[in-house]
Symmetry: C2
Subunit: 281 residues, 2 copies
């Protein structure tokens, strides 16, 4: 039943996401903005134990930050934005001296989530809009497609291979469910899926991964084999700290949005670093 829900909501939502990604422009910017706001809302619910006021503050700040970055992509704007955010947090606690130390520390945990989730989604945004940087407008899009193929293959095949063949636990301390079989199953398909899709599309004459070389696929997929499960474990760890199981209920059958994108937030950083700084080397 849970699995059926999962598949159904994927089938409905995935085409919308792909369409917005493809189109770029305002629709895509809105997708990034809403995804960031919803993920940060879920993260705030976990850390602040569903406190409505903090949920609203987080969403507000995520929207302000994203809009500022969309319209003022200068380094000074980012520095002033980050500095002001930290300043507002500190002023709030300075002018309310009765607030307890533990609340201050919780808000700093929120700040971590703000930066962690924000930089993940921004990496995808920068890949998509960095077209002029590459001198080839759809190269970023191709890499986002590769990023998603590799990350979701890892996630999905680790789950099913682990479910069907899993015997040896990866580490009982880190995760009750993850197995070595699942890890290697995920690893195999993280590499195999993009390679197969590239070959298939090329044979059909579709150049969706046309500018991406086999070398690119290896350089991107091999770190993802480790980064994707880590992204997943990180989210579980934070949920365990604060006594939660799912991050939310926005996607029927999927838990929260954060549960879906936890791996993507980390792997997108790697792909952005590779595409912008390492690929030409």
């Amino acid at each position: 039943m849970n699995l059926l829900f999962r598949v159904l909501s994927s089938v409905t939502l995935l085409p919308i996401v792909i369409y917005l990604l493809w189109q770029g422009g305002t629709g895509f910017s809105c997708l990034i903005m809403i995804s960031f706001a919803v993920s940060l809302f879920e993260y705030t619910s976990i850390v602040m134990n569903q406190h409505r006021g903090w949920q609203m503050v987080s969403v507000l700040f995520s929207l302000i930050a994203v809009l500022l970055i969309f319209y003022a992509t200068s380094l000074v704007a980012i520095v002033v934005l980050i500095g002001s955010l930290c300043f507002f947090i500190c002023v709030y606690f300075t002018l309310n001296p009765d607030l307890p130390q533990c609340l201050f520390e919780r808000v700093c945990v929120l700040l971590l989530g703000f930066f962690y989730i924000g930089s993940g989604f921004l990496s995808i945004y920068l890949l998509r809009t960095g077209g002029t940087l590459f001198g080839q407008s759809d190269l970023g899009l191709q890499f986002i497609f590769l990023l998603m193929l590799a990350t979701f293959s890892n996630d999905t095949f680790a789950y099913f291979v682990g479910k069907w063949f899993g015997k040896n636990p990866l580490s009982k301390k880190l995760s009750a469910k993850k197995t070595w079989e699942g890890f290697f199953g995920g690893a195999l398909f993280t590499l195999a899926t993009p390679l197969a899709v590239k070959a298939l599309l090329a044979s059909m004459g579709v150049m969706l991964l046309g500018s991406i070389s086999i070398r690119d696929i290896f350089f991107i997929a091999i770190p993802i084999i480790f980064l994707a499960p880590l992204g997943d474990l990180i989210e579980s760890r934070i949920k365990r700290f604060y006594g939660f199981k799912d991050s939310g209920r926005i996607l029927p059958g999927h838990g929260g949005l954060l549960d879906r994108v936890d791996a993507l937030l980390v792997t997108s950083l790697w792909v952005a670093a590779y595409v912008f700084f390492l690929r030409a080397v």
Copy 2:
């Protein structure tokens, strides 16, 4: 005795700082780097109760961050840097499941300091190096001079006016020492000092504040009247959370470097925002 030390170390160090600011280039970059590292070291000592390991990690990250920003001033570099920093913190706690929640929250408080202190010093760096942005190479330098005049006047005159004439406490809850007399004395000189220095220098034919209008002085100094004491209170508040009095002992008679720059870290953000985004409006 304390006051004598204070004056002596100011007289020795201030010319060095002014010289490096004036020269720009590598010497100035090193000044920013060392100031950030020392301030973050002191902040870490406060939050982590002098734990040597965390002090070293903080200094290391401050140096890496500053070097990366000096050499790769692109938005993507910043996003990947921030994302990686958050990722490393989370991975550390994920792979060490025995570490307690309170340590995780303390490290998030460190992260706040990293961003707070970093964005303050980076604002000064961007003002100094943003010459090409202004099309006038020493305009940033002039604004840094104004920033320092206004901020240190506020600090110094609030201290002395408060000491000599202070009767009515500003707020017993926020600070035991600050008085309304000190606040207004500081406010007066925050405006008066830059205006007087500009007039004096102009009459001597020195154009050190030549490109800065009276309007600029008002727009910059009036917010500083409020921001500088807030910067000071914020640092006291965080020290009080963690049971410290001074931030360190690096400057003889001055407590720590952080005690000296606490106001500057906030006022520099305002000056950067004003110069880069509001001045032309």
